[in-house]
Amino acid sequence: MIYFILGIPLLLAIACLLVKKQRLLGILNAIGYLAVLFLSAILLKQIALSGVTRLFLGFICLDTLSAFFIFVIAVVVFASALYSIGYIKKDIEKGIISEKKARIYYLLFNLFCCSMFFVPSVNNLGMLWVAIEMTTLISAFLVGFYNKKESVEAAWKYIIICSVGIIFALLGTILFSYAFSISGLSKSLNWSDMVPVAHILDKNILKIAFIFILVGYGTKAGLAPMHTWLPDAHSQAVAPISALLSGVLLKTAIYAILRFGIIIIKGVGFAYFAHLMILLGVISLIVSSGFILVQKDLKRLLAYSSIEHIGIISIGFGLGTPLACAGALLHVFNHAVTKSFMFFGAGNIVSFYRKHNMNAIKGVIKALPFTGIMMLLGVFALTGFPPFSIFISEMMIIVAAFTKGSYLVAAILLLFLAVIFGAFINHFGKMLFGNLPKGMTKTSEPLTGKLAFLFLGLLICITAVALVFIKGEWIWIVQKLFLV
């Protein structure tokens, strides 16, 4: 199962070298990732039932958490593969990129996805680090894909800042292994070996190590104040890649943090983990809200909202009651889906108006009716309105905050969510409605793009309904992950 999930992207990557026609490539991609999606769904089901499974002489180790993250990645990757077809075609028609460049795009796309799939599946924390660094290196090209001053700058910032962060993470990892080795156990970096013995490891070293981890992977996850690369990269990347970046790349970093977090919770105790996570989460929430309020660039706006949601997620994990963690995990999924949904929309809008500046964008609903309507719904979904799914996960987190008695956090959450909502309505109201600028006319949108929208939109709505029923299982899974 997992072999296929890791293999298919590689095969597709190889295909990119062989196949000449980019259109065919796109379709191949879509089909391949559809398969991956199914496989990952089955995998999730299996793992959820069977528990931890080791494969390939313990190199790969899957538990429910990793299976879940694989599933999330699969969903978003499929959607953006679908979306890429139409998008790249449009770019080629507009003469922004050449056929050859398109093939490079698909090659990088697949490598990127492959590396992301590796992150949750490897067992060795060192390899985890390598995989995440790989995602950075590959996606750097995709960020700098359009050879413009801005995109090169963004790519540079992205690669440098993330590498530095990641190096701290490596330092942390080494400290972990050090703690592991001085505790007199055989040398190993597998989390599956570390978790059981976490309680006998040296607390001080663990604490410091976790700070390194948090700062390191936090940089990658876009937690303030290490978030600075994020808006640049997201705003400059190719639209489907922006979706991937903020949809799942950040989540892989979160996954890494969780992996160490579990060890910390068992080794040092919960409070330490909780306080750090909540602190960073709250900072991210506040900072992002400030930037969202006065943002002028559409894609940057969405990027900052990703920071906000990452903040919410980390607050959720920080609260740490089963409910909160369940909420946070759901939020990982919901945000991945919704945000990539929004980025697709943003991609369409930007490629139609040829500019990011929101003041110059008017009357989207008139110009691109489908995208416009979708975006309108998407805004409310993203800002946590029922009946969309984010509402439920946010609700879970807030409820958990209240029941846990941490009113301050809850108040901050409510306040800043309201502020951010206001900002979003303000920005998007001006963009979506109103009359078209002069000399622009209604245009058609590629079918595949629409399909991608519908797929995600469906997920947004279905999850909301499905959660109503499977919530119990969620809690159960979370308990299996954190509390046992």
Binding site: G126, N147, W156, I167, I174, I208, K296
Partner: protein
């Protein structure tokens, strides 16, 4: 008797060697911190990497592990030979000024470096306690190298300086890994090397691009994306 002597001698030799090597690392790092021009920086980076190589070899001799030899070899090839060469070539290619572009002048940088040294010393002591002096020294120097790397990245303007800073940090971590936990698992080690290699290539590529689009590699001037 004489057997005992040889043992003692060996031990002494090893430790002194090790401390000498560590001293070399320290010195080369200081050289980097006060370097004003890119070639000087690269040169001292080469020294540092070479010291690391020696250190690894010693550990390999002590532990008699094959993969450590391999690691040492890779280290030599990559960081002592290949990467510095690559960086030299880049400088020549892009014909940018060899100035590093200092935010703070060497004297001040030196002070910072001293501060960092102390910091890392304190940190090391905190981490493993003062009972094992050699360990503490190693740890302290490793941390110091990392700090020096981030220092370079923050306080030097050009893109190349940042690449080197990154590599320095990596060196520091390598030192840490090899000293503290007797090196990573082998394949991780390899993977990391590969990773470093790739990242340097990519960064080099982007340095070219920056030079192409901005006609300089002063990343401090890259501030079109803000807010």
């Amino acid at each position: 008797m004489c057997w005992g002597l040889s043992q003692v001698f060996a031990l002494f030799w090893e430790f002194s060697m090790q401390s000498i090597i560590l001293f070399g690392v320290l010195v080369s790092t200081y050289l980097m911190v006060i370097a004003k021009r890119t070639p000087a920086l690269i040169r001292s980076f080469r020294y540092q990497s070479f010291c690391l190589f020696l250190a690894t070899v010693i550990i390999a001799l002590r532990e008699h592990e094959l993969d450590l030899y391999v690691v040492a070899g890779l280290l030599f090839i990559l960081k002592v030979v290949f990467i510095p060469q690559l960086l030299y070539r880049t400088i020549k290619k892009i014909k940018a000024s060899e100035e590093l572009g200092l935010f703070i002048n060497p004297q001040l940088s030196l002070l910072w470096a001293l501060g960092f040294t102390y910091l890392s010393w304190v940190f090391a002591v905190y981490l493993i306690g003062a009972h094992d002096a050699v360990q503490v020294i190693m740890l302290a120097i490793a941390f110091f190298v990392v700090l020096a790397g981030i220092f370079l990245m923050i306080f030097r303007m050009t893109a190349l300086a940042q690449i080197i800073g990154l590599l320095v940090m990596e060196n520091g971590i390598f030192l840490l890994a090899s000293m503290v936990s007797g090196g990573m698992p082998f394949f991780v080690e390899i993977a990391i090397f590969f990773d470093v290699f790739v990242s340097v290539l990519i960064m080099g590529f982007f340095v070219y691009k920056i030079n192409k689009f901005f006609t300089h590699i002063d990343v401090n001037k890259l501030s079109r994306l803000k807010g």
